[in-house]
């Protein structure tokens, strides 16, 4: 599997130095690799990606069939 290559600028978010806002975000639990992925896109491309994601979520929800639910099993 290929490994994602990061630019020097992107590495400031991927491997943040201690005391930086990026380090605080990482320690807070933010997945900054997602941020880098988003920053690589133009605003227009971000919207298209959002469209595709929301559409796939809608389809997923439409096709969702629960086989069993924990709350029913517990009852």
């Amino acid at each position: 599997m290929d490994k994602v290559e990061y630019t020097e600028e992107e590495l400031w978010l991927i491997e943040p130095k201690p005391g930086t806002a990026a380090a605080r975000a990482r320690d807070f639990g933010v997945d900054l690799s997602l941020t880098v992925g988003n920053l690589r896109l133009s605003p227009e491309e971000r919207i298209k990606q959002l469209d595709r994601y929301l559409e796939s979520l809608k389809n997923l929800r439409r096709n969702l069939r629960w086989i069993s639910r924990a709350s029913e099993r517990a009852a």
Partner: protein, 164 residues
């Protein structure tokens, strides 16, 4: 096209003078958090209020979260009497702000906005610095959760500016 993209296009179709703010603006500025509603800060000039009303009527806007007994007439006079409104529409939730905490009114938002060409139009998007100010001022848990990523993006952007 997603609800948010349709809402953005609606603003352009009706030539609404506004600045994109909130979660969608943060998303456009690079945040990875997704959003499903659109927040705007709108000009309260009379002509613009008419355009806002026409745009909202075209998507059957209704006041969101208001008690049933409250009678709401969507017209320019009503917008003039109020300031901030939350609507549900045929194309999703739509929030209008006359003033943004931590930033100010439309003219202030415009002053601190970036221009973006998206979905076939040019839009004003609140700057990352001011999105952070707004979220700090709002101080709700969901705003505070977004802050670490936004600050990291701003820091990286400033650093890259210095080195290029």
């Amino acid at each position: 096209m997603s609800d948010v993209a349709q809402q953005v296009r609606l603003l352009n179709d009706f030539s609404v003078q506004c600045v994109l703010i909130g979660g969608f603006a943060a998303f456009l500025q690079g945040a990875s958090t997704l959003t499903r509603d659109l927040d705007i800060c709108y000009s309260r000039e009379d002509e613009n209020l008419v355009r806002v009303v026409e745009a909202l009527r075209s998507v059957n806007a209704a006041l969101r979260g208001a008690p049933k007994e409250i009678k709401f007439v969507l017209d320019a006079q009503t917008l003039k009497r109020g300031l901030n409104f939350t609507f549900v529409t045929d194309i999703g939730d739509f929030d209008l702000f006359g003033e943004v905490p931590g930033v100010g009114d439309y003219s202030e938002c415009l002053r601190y906005s970036d221009e973006a060409e998206i979905i076939g139009g040019n839009y004003r998007v609140l700057s990352l610095e001011k999105i952070i100010s707004a979220k700090e001022a709002a101080g709700r848990p969901k705003d505070l959760l977004a802050l670490p990523e936004l600050r990291a993006i701003l820091e990286t952007r400033r650093r890259n500016k210095r080195t290029t």
